[in-house]
């Protein structure tokens, strides 16, 4: 056990801190509006040009081949500097791990650099009107078009975050009409500008147009944009949910920064009745940090993380709600004002819902971590 950072890690942190502090955008907009998205696309481009967009990726695709530990350090510095949300998030954290694992060399070359530089932005097309928590309820279909060398996609995707601004969508479609539930689906990469594809932006409760419905009618997708094997979409996609629930989507740095801002707020508006909550928030962010270092060491030593990622998702999503609730309590009558903490609270409340509801996550912990009977 050695809990000091290595010289490489320290110098990586110093370099990241210096660059991020010098370049952090002042008052960045929300990326969940059309205008904000465009501004943040520029920011992503700047990150990419300086090889900070995807630090853990191969150099060939714009990364620095950083270790997982260095990636965590980058995340700490990113949020510590007050940098904005990553509009490339669903690409680089959800799709990219699947492309690295299942993509052909040609797909990797086409997709990854364009994704990292935000030249092509990606949204996730999984949920459908009748398939939310239960993704096996997906009904959208893809029909073989041998003549054209590809597939014709028809159906509807919904709750597609930033779908109205993104260029492409990854999603699951049924390719075997006989198969049921988790079988017979294929993982497709769809051009949202393709003929037959209609995207309708939808307002979210925080006022941003952050959702979209995507209607597909006979949308052609060439064979080269099938990821992994035909009818193997479910197992291909599961690699991505692992990442989503695990440490890539929401690393500790984000919550450490929120906890620090909460402590600052307490300094400005102290209320002894809320001190315990403020301190407990800071303590929980630390707990998440050290649990992550513990997990990442295991991964770097060749171990695996499986259902334990459900514990991580439960922890950060519920911590985020508590941190924001405490801030709003500190704000008292100013809590209802449409400020940063209220915006953050509304976003935090989505945490226990997206990426697998916390009810499902607790089932997973009960069944797959503890071994309780399914039925």
């Amino acid at each position: 056990m050695d809990l000091t950072f290595t010289a490489e890690e320290e110098s990586f942190r110093a370099e990241a801190r210096e660059w991020l502090t010098a370049n952090v955008p002042i008052d960045p907009p929300s990326g969940d509006t059309r205008e904000g998205f465009a501004v943040l696309r520029e920011w992503e481009r700047l990150l990419f040009d300086n090889r900070w967009a995807v630090v853990s990726w191969p150099e060939a695709y714009g990364g620095r081949e950083a270790t997982l530990m260095e990636w965590l350090i980058f995340e700490e510095e990113y949020y510590r500097a007050g940098c904005p949300q990553r509009i490339t998030q669903n690409g680089i954290f959800l799709l990219a791990p699947t492309v690295f694992e299942f993509g052909t060399k040609d797909q990797q070359d086409r997709i990854l650099p364009a994704m990292a530089s935000a030249t092509e932005t990606w949204c996730q097309g999984w949920s459908e009107p009748n398939a939310g928590s239960d993704l096996a309820g997906i009904k959208s279909v893809a029909v073989r078009d041998d003549a054209a060398g590809g597939w014709r996609l028809t159906g509807q995707k919904t709750w597609t975050t930033r779908g109205a601004f993104c260029d492409r969508m990854f999603g699951l479609f049924r390719t075997d009409p006989e198969a049921e539930r988790h079988r017979g689906m294929t993982y497709f990469l769809v051009d949202l500008a393709a003929e037959g594809c209609t995207v309708r932006g939808m307002g979210r409760l925080d006022g941003d147009e952050g959702f979209a419905e995507v209607f597909l009618e006979d949308v052609f997708v060439p064979d080269g944009d099938v990821l992994g094997g035909v009818n193997e979409g479910w197992s291909v996609a599961m690699a991505t949910t692992g990442s989503e629930r695990g440490l890539t989507l929401r690393s500790p740095g984000r919550f450490m920064a929120t906890a620090d801002r909460l402590a600052e707020l307490y300094g400005e508006r102290p209320d002894p009745r809320l001190r315990d909550d403020v301190v407990q928030g800071w303590m929980d962010a630390q707990a998440y940090r050290w649990q992550t270092f513990w997990t990442v060491t295991k991964l770097m030593q060749g171990g695996k993380t499986g259902a334990e990622s459900s514990l991580t998702k439960l922890f950060w999503s519920e911590l985020d709600v508590r941190l924001h609730q405490t801030a709003l309590s500190l704000l008292g009558p100013d809590g209802e004002l449409d400020g940063a903490w209220m915006k953050g609270y509304q976003f935090a409340l989505a945490g226990p819902i997206y990426a697998g509801t916390n009810e499902i996550q607790r089932n997973v912990v009960g069944e797959r971590v503890l071994g309780l009977p399914r039925k």
Binding site: G203, L205, R273, S329, G332
Partner: protein, 294 residues
């Protein structure tokens, strides 16, 4: 001890519910988010005709009607009117410094150095509930004959009653949704975790409701217990409003997040009213002082 409403009081409530269902449906609340006034055009005089502001109505006569205005999420200055006894007034107190619809009313009352004074409208401030048009206000030296303590208690009571109605409405929106929405081949409301979420909301509401009705009676009779009763009511109703918001949103999942779905209108009103007119910490603190836990 007879802790129940009279038939007349219940009939008054029913009339208010009928009126509000007709005059203040969900789309009227939604329209108030973007229209000029933040209100439901025509509703305020109709509530007046119903008798909401009559001189001889007592708190126990109108408490259920105020609850109905919460159930309907009526975008109107109900709390302020009940607090001041004036249908064309608004109010700002130390713990609730922004005045609702201060750009539209005849009279602004502002707490200043512990006294209630006339005030003038200042700058707009944006509430998360966009029908709540709030303004900073400045106090003049003209004192009002109303006392801060009285209007504060009446405001807290009215907000508590609205919170009951808001919470009830959110439950009534969520239960049918959970009963119809299917995942994994079953209505999500049949899953134990979903049942327990909504049971927690029902629990908070069940034990807040009598406290609010009792506080109305204590205020009406100006008893020594009135301040504690009001604080019990507002703290419990605020908690019920916030818990029900949280559970309703969680059970709805993504659709609860859609701007075009009504849940968030109710939820944001509940958040706002839970914090206004003394949040739970404020009222808990007042009780602690009165009962001598310090």
């Amino acid at each position: 001890m007879r802790f129940a409403f009279s038939d007349e009081q219940l009939a008054f409530r029913d009339a208010a519910r009928d009126l509000l269902e007709k005059e203040c449906p969900g789309h009227a609340v939604r329209a108030a988010w973007t229209n000029e006034t933040g209100r439901a055009p025509g509703l305020w005089p109709k509530l007046g005709q119903l008798g909401l502001f009559d001189d001889d109505v007592e708190p126990t006569d109108v408490i259920l009607v105020i609850e109905e205005t919460g159930r309907a999420c009526a975008p109107e200055p109900v709390v302020e009117a009940f607090a001041t006894g004036r249908s064309e007034a608004t109010l700002a107190l130390a713990h609730t410094p922004y005045a609702l619809y201060a750009d539209q009313v005849a009279e602004i009352l502002v707490e200043s150095d512990g006294r209630l004074c006339a005030g003038t409208v200042g700058e707009p401030v944006a509430s998360v509930d966009e029908s709540r048009r709030l303004f900073s206000v400045d106090a003049s030296p003209d004192p009002s004959e109303l006392s801060v303590a009285d209007v504060g208690d009446r405001a807290a009571l009215a907000a508590a009653a609205q919170l009951l109605g808001l919470a009830d409405a959110m439950l009534e929106l969520t239960v049918p949704y959970a009963s119809e929405r299917k995942q994994f081949g079953a209505p999500i409301g049949s899953f134990q975790a979903v049942k327990h979420h909504l049971a927690d909301a029902a629990l908070a509401l069940e034990f807040a409701r009598p406290l609010v009705y009792r506080a109305a009676w204590e205020l009406e009779h100006d008893t020594a217990d009135a301040p504690v009763a009001v604080s019990l009511a507002k703290a419990a109703a605020s908690k019920a409003g916030v818990i029900t918001s949280r559970k309703a949103l969680q059970v709805h999942g993504a659709i609860g997040y859609a701007h075009e779905y009504d849940l968030h209108l109710w939820m944001k009103r509940a958040w706002a009213l839970a914090g206004a007119w003394g949040d739970p910490a404020w009222h808990r603190n007042r009780i602690a002082t009165i009962i001598g836990v310090s």
